[in-house]
Symmetry: C2
Subunit: 401 residues, 2 copies
């Protein structure tokens, strides 16, 4: 098999951990596989480099910041190569450029345009283990770019797609994807398989295992993913696959997201175009609005409530207050003591009972539902933050108990 492995910064934090990961890579190679490992920068290196740059210039250009930060991954792959050489196996480290990862020129959040995999293939043909610096590429001006948050995951999936790898294994500090966060639900179960769409919903809902962007890319290029632990590399993790390749579960996981806040606009005029005015204004400020609830009009006014990511709350409130006159609301009420609890499952598209079961479980636990949002594979409810963990347990018990 051709296996792409991805290791994050915490798995590479010091010499001891680098040696441990070198062992994982070597074991895979010795099993007869072709191995490409995509690495992040060691530990906090990226943050430290960024801080050094910002000390010199708080408004440093993104081009130079990318050139600086890419050094973190370049050091990682060279050090790992030395550790694998010490084991006695053939290995070569490649920068993003050497690996042929061409991106656009959006420094700090570049998108991969194409990968010229010739060099990687040549090295694999020589039976070398190939190490690729994650998080980075180069653009058509021959300048270094970085891919932004979760960039190394994206690099790994893109490399796997370019090489038509059999699997892309993401080693993290958890051993797979669970039906709920085990810190909240002690009897949560590890999933053997999950669909790309389920993984996307779970990631965006706070199950911080894979970044959405890498899952989206894996789905697009049909790259099988596996999430597993670098501490227990021999235990199979959770595979992320096409829906057609697996039996669909009704619900595959229950998650909680505390990073939400609710905004209510009270006393809006009850006429067409009012909601559009609010949300197009927020879209201009690049605020993603999640659950939206609009009251039924009475007395010629209506209320609109919606949730946003908590970090966008200030931007949101300021923008709305500035335009209060134009939008014509009477009052603006904010709550950040809320939490979003969601059930995700590719099977629920054919099973309308999931939402009802979830609401029942919450009702039985005496938990009040503030807002509801559903998609084809997800049911989300907004609850009081103090109820969130209890809500996750109640819903999880009902589906998996």
């Amino acid at each position: 098999m051709l296996i792409v492995q991805k290791f994050g910064g915490s798995s590479l934090a010091d010499a001891q951990r680098i040696r441990h990961v070198a062992g994982i890579i070597a074991d895979t190679y010795r099993q007869g596989h072709s191995v490409v490992a995509v690495l992040s920068a060691q530990g906090d290196t990226t943050d430290e480099l960024e801080a050094k740059g910002l000390e010199l210039n708080p408004r440093a250009s993104r081009r130079e910041m990318d050139a600086l930060m890419a050094c973190g991954e370049n050091m990682s792959v060279a050090l790992m190569a030395m550790a694998i050489e010490a084991i006695g196996l053939p290995v070569i480290s490649l920068t993003g450029r050497q690996a042929g990862i061409l991106t656009d020129s959006n420094y700090a959040s570049a998108r991969i345009k194409s990968i010229d995999a010739e060099r990687m293939r040549t090295e694999l043909d020589k039976h070398s283990i190939v190490l690729v610096a994650g998080f980075q590429g180069y653009n058509r001006y021959d300048d270094i770019t970085t891919l932004g948050r979760g960039g190394s995951n994206t690099s790994a999936v893109a490399v796997a797609a370019a090489l038509k790898a059999d699997i892309c294994r993401n080693y993290t500090d958890v051993d797979g994807v669970y039906t709920a966060d085990p810190r909240i639900v002690p009897n949560a179960k590890k999933l053997d398989e999950i669909t790309y769409d389920e993984m996307l919903e779970l990631a965006s809902l706070g199950a911080n295992v894979l970044h959405n962007r890498s899952v989206e890319m894996a789905k697009r290029f049909n790259v099988p993913l596996e999430v597993l632990s670098s501490f227990t590399p021999d235990i199979p993790g959770t595979k992320v696959l096409e829906v057609t390749k697996m039996e669909k579960m009704q619900v595959s996981g229950v998650t909680r997201d505390n990073n939400v806040a609710r905004i209510s606009l009270v006393g809006l005029a009850d006429r067409p175009g009012v909601a559009a005015g609010v949300f197009s204004l927020l879209a201009k400020e690049k605020v993603n609005v999640d659950i939206i609830l609009q009251s039924i009009g009475r007395d010629e006014t209506k209320d609109i409530s919606f949730t946003v990511a908590r970090k966008m709350l200030d931007t949101c409130v300021n923008t709305l207050r500035e335009h209060q006159k134009q939008l014509g609301f009477v009052d603006l009420i904010v709550s950040d003591s809320v939490s979003k609890v969601s059930s995700v499952g590719a099977g629920m598209v054919n099973n309308p009972g999931v939402a009802a079961t979830m609401f029942e479980a919450l009702s039985d636990a005496g938990i009040n539902i503030q807002m509801i949002s559903t998609s084809e594979i997800k049911v989300s409810v907004l609850v009081d933050k103090d109820d969130a963990d209890r809500a996750v347990r109640a819903v999880h018990d009902r589906f998996f108990g």
Copy 2:
């Protein structure tokens, strides 16, 4: 003018010094010059990276060690770019590869084969300050190489040659080349000018200002060099030029080299081929032999004494002892309490009185000369180490006093 500037690691050790150097570069640019600055890695970064690598693998491959160490200079140029951006001037950082510095594949001590200066020229045409990572290049396999000791000096001269720069300014922690080490000879004078050949002799004799390799390259491509201090950048330093461009001084400097040791082989057979046997053996071990003295044969035996760099002493002695029977010497005597004192001057080629004047000065000071060696522009004598500083002062006083 097109000016290439080179700054070493100690000038870049922290944010404050980076800002100081950014100021020097900015001042030069504001005077209306085109500026290319070649930078070393910050402070001890290169050593730290090497130590990290060796911790993982004491026999790390040179390819991977080069890939690792090159990150030091890459970080330097990106950080400097940010500091210059903060001043508000246009600037761009380039890796060795981006600057088009093609080398051979001798990792760790690569030689520059050619420089494709197109990118640097394009950036200069855009009126940007161009920062180039020193010490590094890339080879025809698209791999990163480093140039070895003094590599950044070599990079700077090569870049200056490729761009046909008007001058290559080497900023160091001394403000020029002196007629003697001011720590030994307090009234030593700073030279305004010196020839490449004199500089080469002075460097190899321990006046640690420029590396020979960069001076050789400057001579070959006729790149005017200047040595000056980053602490007093406005004070002219010492220019290193072609001999034709300046009035030749009889003696331009007096130096001392304590890193020598003397070996004497006693009782060798007085027949042809004996000396050849000794020195071809040492050449095989890559020992550079400096001054050689052969006694006049008597009683059918002769003695041979010679000096080597002190760090090669053990290799030398072991090799000779192993081959004692074959070489046929009776005794091997070692002395490391010796020092080499030299007078260097392009003018002495037409002035045979220099050696005599030097010997006189030493004789008047009561200093015994153990061995003598002369070249076209140099007279060296071996003296007891305890006499070395006094010898330098005596000779310096005679020529410059």
